[in-house]
Amino acid sequence: MKNVLKKSVLTLASLGLAASVLAGCNGDAEEAGNADEFKGKITIWDGPRWPDKDDNKYHWLEAKIKEYEEAHDGVEVELVQVPWAEMGDKLGVAIAGKSWPDIAPVDISGSSVSIDHIEQGVIEPLDAYFDKDAKADFYENALDAYTYDGKMYGIPNAITLHSMLLNLDLFEEAGVTPPEGGEWTYDEFLDAAKKLTFDRDGDGKTDVYGFSTYVLPGYYESWPFFYKNGGSPLNEDMTEFTFDDPETVQAIQDLADLKLKENAAPETLGGNDVGGTFQAWANEEQRTVAMQPWATWAIGAAQGKYPTNFAVANYPTGKSDKPVTIGGVGGWVMFHQDEDANKKAAVADFMKFISTDKEQFVMAQNYGIFPARISASEMDPFKDNPEMTRAMEMSDQVVMLPRHPEWQKIDEAIQTQLQLVFNGEKTAEEAMADAKKTVDELLK
């Protein structure tokens, strides 16, 4: 009986979807197709999420698939489990061989799928399946991240951002007061970093450093520091490299000098060891760094696997007086479908089925991300989680990275030069002047 009821509800939901499709497609019914008429297989790739009691990290999507298949006779949804670390490479190979899945969790400005792929038709637009009202439930910046040339190329699922994580035990040990309300200037941050660098056992060697992070293509934990004086890597119309302006150069040099001049950061500041950097902050046996910037997943880790007494703070402000952080938006995209309009509609139907406000609420609570839907946020998923609530308050500080088709190459040109600044081989001015030569070539 319960199943029948569930089935009825889902059928009604599907009918509602069909109606909204017809309403949203402005008479383009042929393109939108009819999800209910599709019989066949839909393939979805996903990475591990939060575990259930059996440590199955795919249980959420498996349950959703089961629910969907029960409500749609003749539709089979195949889940391909792909570790996150392999997702980019596997998608890259799949795209090259035109053997892509129907759905995958992809940030379209990320490493595996780029604007260039959208231009080549690898990603399907979803406008036929979302009317204006349906789109209105998404945060504007989330929707923007999946919009290109006026079309919607994915369903935003989650917003992530970077924040400063402060180890409060080390603050207490060094007698440093954490910034009030998590707000501070760079001078205050520098002062705290110096005081948090200390020799615990009196052997003449530093045991705890104030700050550390890494510099690596594709990772942006350190970048909000470079924006503190109002800089950005490219100008607004993305025709010119602007990380070489004196204010940005100063911001980069300031952070590198934390190690090179102030000795308030370990030698590994600006290195490429992501795991090692995190362990230095979170691992109970190490705890050799008091402050590190991380994406929001680290908050979940510090509340779970690596229990840490910590606080979330803004990135320190510079001459612009505005705190800035780099954000990202994750979501589901539909890969190119052949001419079967009904399958396209069914794939879109399933994507919507796993992206409802309820699902985003569940994911926010369990997976440490911020919902991309306003209605899901309004359900207050973090009411018992002050750290996530604090991080969520930083949403209005988010700056998105430039969405240039050559961004990955531009990013590499900048980050490889930044590495040389942090290991003291070049000054920020020299490094950014060298980066400019490469980036300006790419922008031509």
């Binding site: 290195g271 490429n272 060891d273």
Partner: protein, 314 residues
Amino acid sequence: MTQIPMGAVPKKDNEKLKVLKKPNKNVFLQMKKNYSAYLFLLPKLILFVLFVAIPVIWAFVLSFQEYKIFGSEFVGLDNYIKVFQSEAFLVALKNTLLFTVVTVPFSVLSALVIASMIFVLGKVSQSFFRSAFYLPTVTSMVIIAMVWRWMYNYEFGLFNYILGWFGIEQINWLGQSSSALWALIIMQCLIPFGVGIIMYLASMGSISHSLYEAARMDGASSFKQWLHITIPLLKPTTLYLVLLSTIGSFQVFTQIIMMTGGGPGNATETLVHLIYKTGFRDFEFGLAAAQSVVLFVIILIFSIIQFRVLRHDE
């Protein structure tokens, strides 16, 4: 059992050899005659064609195209021009050459020395050391790279710990341009060349004892016997191993992606890592294919040079 004097070929086999030297004009007839041999070869041949020959030919074709998901475009030699105009390629080539020039002689020479030391041991000890030195060959390079990454760790690594005993300041092995590539070279040199050791041991076993006996009677020391008998007679094996390790060194990849990602800056960028990035990060498969073809030509040239220098004089 009939004893066959060395150098002699049985009459029947001799006739077969003549047949091989003058191939039958009707190839198909001959194939039909030896169909059972071809049947045994067929599975491997199919796999070779599918997974080696076709991808190689396709890569060559791709190198003249700008790859697009839906319909690539022929661009002539544009990709090759880009390869040689690219500063990144030249840096990667320079790094790869340095890596190869240092690691290949060291690996082959160390394999020769280790094999020579093992060869004089008793059977049990020989088996033990043979297995011990071959172990890294059957161990995943990913695992080896992870262990070495730890050994090079600035704060907790083994090397800096040892340096500390002598009061020497810690080195940021993988974090400085000046040391990162050398750290990878040292790692490569210190991983025993297992295949080389096994092959040298096998080749040493086939050297006639009479040569050493004659040398001893002439008063040659052990070192002179090694220098003037063992090494010259191992020349074909050395040639093979030099070729093998040169190809392997030119294709160095796992250590790079696991330990440095090509950095800091581009201090450890190598050709195959660059090809990987061009293909699977930038999706410029045409350019990546052109880089691969250039790498193939470089390896080919090196192989021909090595073959001419080291070939066994009959």
